[in-house]
Symmetry: C2
């Protein structure tokens, strides 16, 4: 099963695609869509997020898109900007008929570190460890997106058994299948 | 010039397309996208607004999309829902490279009725009068969308001179053009 985690901020939208198969996590790709701060044009910002995520989806063909639940923001303006970014990201996935899931920040931290109140550094450390990520420079913006994808994997261990990867495995290895 | 006014609410998204040519307003079409209250699925709601507006745009080919500026809402949850609907509508227009404009509620009321504090009924009365609308049943949801489009027309009287309609007129009436 291929899981796309998305962390849509109003300035940077992080994303990460992981594969979860037989209880094993593998990193497919991760990145961040940086929307220039100087670019104040809302319509272009939404378009940028939508089109870039569209390209990621076309490239990786995820089975599910997972988001962090948003409850509040520091003020109405920033909540609006955050909601706009989030809607663009959701539309990019729903127009491709990709299933949707979301978790609270607490659920995500708990899944990845074992502690629902874990700090950002601890989450980053665990994401790097679980996905065997060596790089650091561009990694940080995608941390929460990858953590969200990992959370989905850990909380849905059973679904991986009927995953796309398994079907692909059968196709590629017909001799290994027991015929009953 | 063809102007698309959009009023994206979280339950109903009203829209209206008008033509503005030589200082004259004409109604092209109006309607409302009703998103069922029972349908609590956010992703489907966003998709519905996006796809329905896409169809309106393909049908009417507007030159500009005009929105009412949103500043606040009664609470964070409703502001988020409103922002989601708004982002879907903006994306539907920006992905088709349609220009974007917005006005405050006060500017819209002032343009349509002459009074920035006009009530809803007064705005509805003027929209019906200006666009010669006879119907009432389905009209109300689209009132604010049409008022927004009219506001753009009245505040940009000069641009109508270089409108698409004029080009079409020349094409359809080549004999009426003075050759210099």
């Amino acid at each position: 099963m291929l899981i796309l985690g998305i962390d849509p901020g109003s300035v940077v939208c992080g994303y990460g695609v992981i594969e979860f198969y037989s209880g094993k996590l593998s990193l497919i790709e991760y990145g961040s869509i940086k929307v220039k701060k100087k670019n104040e044009d809302l319509t272009q910002r939404l378009k940028e997020i939508f089109l870039r995520l569209n390209a990621v989806i076309d490239r990786t063909k995820p089975d599910i898109a997972v988001f962090e639940t948003v409850f509040y923001s520091k003020n109405a303006q920033s909540l609006m900007k955050l909601s706009f970014a989030r809607a663009s990201a959701i539309l990019a996935t729903s127009l491709k008929d990709i299933k949707f899931a979301e978790f609270t920040p607490r659920e995500i931290k708990k899944s990845v570190t074992g502690n629902g109140n874990a700090g950002k550094k601890q989450v980053q450390f665990m994401v790097r460890t679980l996905l065997k990520i060596q790089e650091t420079p561009d990694f940080y913006d995608a941390t929460d997106a990858l953590a969200t994808a990992i959370c989905y994997a850990f909380r849905n261990q059973n679904i991986a058994k009927t995953s796309k990867t398994w079907t692909e495995f059968i196709k590629q290895n017909p001799d290994k299948i027991l015929k009953i």
